[in-house]
Amino acid sequence: MHMMYFTEQPMAAYDAKAGLDFGATALNFSNSHFDPNEGSRLYNEYLEEYILAEECGADGIMLNEHHNAPFCMQARTNMFGAILAAVTKRVKIVFLGNPLPLTENPVQLAEELAMIDMISKGRVVSGFVRGGGQEQLANGVNPAFNRERFIEAHDLVQKTWTVPGPFRWEGTHYQQRVVNPWAIPMQKPYPRVWIPGVLSKETVIWTAQQRYPYIALNTSIEATKTIHETYDKAAADAGYTAGPENFGYLIRVHVQDTEEKALQNARQFMWMQGEFTGLANPVWANPAGYFSPSGRRGFVEFAVGRAKNPRGNPTFEQQVADTMIIAGTPDQVIERLKYLVRETRPGIMGIWGNDGTVSKEDRRRCIQLLCGEVMPAIKEYAAGLGLNDPWEANAPVHLRYSTDIPGLRQAAE
């Protein structure tokens, strides 16, 4: 099992009351509430914490990005990826991921990732996402073409990484006269691509069709099993059998030396869920055209306040009871994680360790216990269950490199 450390890099050093008064802490919540001195402090602390996670034994560092919001300070995931490429030695640098539709130039994205792959000496895992609705609005990108752009940008990046240039790209959303970047990835055929997601069935099916691992982002156990069923079926249709190496799972886990302290800090996970920050406007999160048309009717009712959030709004206690949040001493956390791993059988696990205003001292202690004690125990347990990650399973990077599908014309590596 591959186990990686994750934090949203919260920028919690702002006036919480201002967010509550405004009624939202995303997109239009003014950046006049952002203090760059605090930002500088936090960026550097988070960087030190990633290094600590590697020292303590994490297999990977998972990175992401968001825009116009205090819950995530990373506006460009490749920036931290580039820094980590230089200052870490062993961990995988796992982008989950670059929001493909936001780019106007997928070739440049392919170049950047290739540079990071070379600087890190082949440690990049290049996840891709559609990006949330408000990310489209924050970047002026048309939400109505989000999925089309995602797929076309992926295909262009993939071709850029695998087909010698120069070539020309005349697509629907992207046209490039000359594709011939001199920076190409060190890993062959190209860096592993993992696709994280929350609920979009279309994305699960597309991911299975590529044979990329799908990383469920803190979905309920029940929802996770449904995702696996959808993936399994699409995999079978594509001619292969999905295994644990095709699945990842991100879970909020906070560890401290005492249960009391762990639970107290874990309450900060509610910060991003809006319990004490104010929530985003639904039409920012799901602008027209972004959402699957099958969900349109339910969504419009939610958006005008006539229906409850289809994703629900469970309390902290409920989320702890449902294993959506795990908090406690290392022994307690190991026991809960074993249950989760048994139930969902992932080959990849992301551990979202810290959120909100957890102190620097407690964040570091959490990382020491997580990466030093919890991860080794879970990896050993997972090995016993045969939960192999993509490297252990020697899984193909993409469906086209499969050797176990009769009739498939295998691509050259």
Binding site: L27, N28, L137, G140, N142, P143, A144, F145, N281, P282, V283, W284, P287, A288, G289, R296, R297, F299, V300, E301, A303, V304, R306
Partner: protein, 258 residues
């Protein structure tokens, strides 16, 4: 006299276009807003009492089929010009409401001598010299149309408690608006330069409290079109034909009858 409307489906550019038609006399093509249109309005009836009124749903809006390839209101303009040819009324007058006003202006700029007269009501399509066209992307489905009325009671009179079907139609209309007019939002940088050739006399009508398209855009239209008159309606928002149907109908009928 009650007006009898006939709904048909016309196949234009591979798209099944929903078209309502009523009345007799010179043809007037009515082009609806970015939020689509309800099937019948007192304003439409008033026009149909004097003219042959043709009201298509834009491709992708309401009951018209979506054109996946469509990328700009100029494409919609070409579709409606094709529709008029198909209906045997190529020299119709054009009456554009809001976003439909942009489409009408595109049609006129592409065929400067073809259309009889041009009526633009709170038309989008030109970057307002002062202020911005309101961005519907960041407000809720009800907030946006409501902001297009001077008086909330007029919104209620037209939409009542707003059915879920209507909300869904607004979401689809919004998606279509994004597909054809996302960037720059709701205006063309080239249109103002192309309006000078239009030979049709134009009447430009604006609600004096249009919070969606600033009046300065109306002034810009009046300046760019060679033969144009700008008239404002007091205590009226962007959706003028719904908020002040009598006033808009009177102005339009008087102008189109001359």
């Amino acid at each position: 006299m009650s007006v009898v409307w006939t709904d048909t489906v016309e196949e234009i550019a591979g798209i099944k276009l929903h078209v309502s038609r009523a009345g007799s006399g010179p043809t007037v093509l009515v082009l609806h807003h970015d939020i689509g249109t309800v099937d019948r309005l007192p304003f439409y009836d008033a026009l149909a009492a004097k003219f042959d009124v043709v009201i298509p749903h834009h491709p992708g809006w309401g009951k018209s089929q979506r054109a996946e390839w469509m990328r700009h209101p100029r494409d919609i303009a070409a579709v409606h010009a094709w529709l008029l040819a198909e209906l045997g009324a190529p020299h119709a007058s054009l009456l554009g409401l809001g976003f439909g006003g942009w489409v009408a202006a595109e049609m006129a700029s592409l065929a400067p001598t073809v259309y009889r007269k041009l009526v633009l009501v709170g038309a989008m399509g030109i970057k307002p010299p002062e202020g911005d066209i309101a961005d519907q992307a960041i407000v809720s489905y009800i907030v946006y149309p409501m902001s297009g009325f001077h008086d909330e009671a007029a919104f209620k009179a037209n939409y009542g408690d707003v059915s879920t079907d209507q909300l869904e139609a607004w979401d689809i209309a919004r998606e279509m608006s994004f597909r054809v007019a996302w960037k720059p939002y709701m205006y063309s940088q080239t249109l103002p330069h192309l309006l000078g050739g239009v030979r049709a006399p134009a009447l430009i009508i604006w609600g004096d409290d249009d919070r969606i398209v600033p009046l300065s855009a109306g002034q810009a239209y009046a300046k760019a079109l060679p033969e144009a008159t700008l008239t404002t309606i007091p205590a009226c928002g962007h959706f003028a034909e719904m908020e002040k149907p009598d006033a808009v109908a009177r102005l339009a009928i008087d102008f189109l009858s001359r």
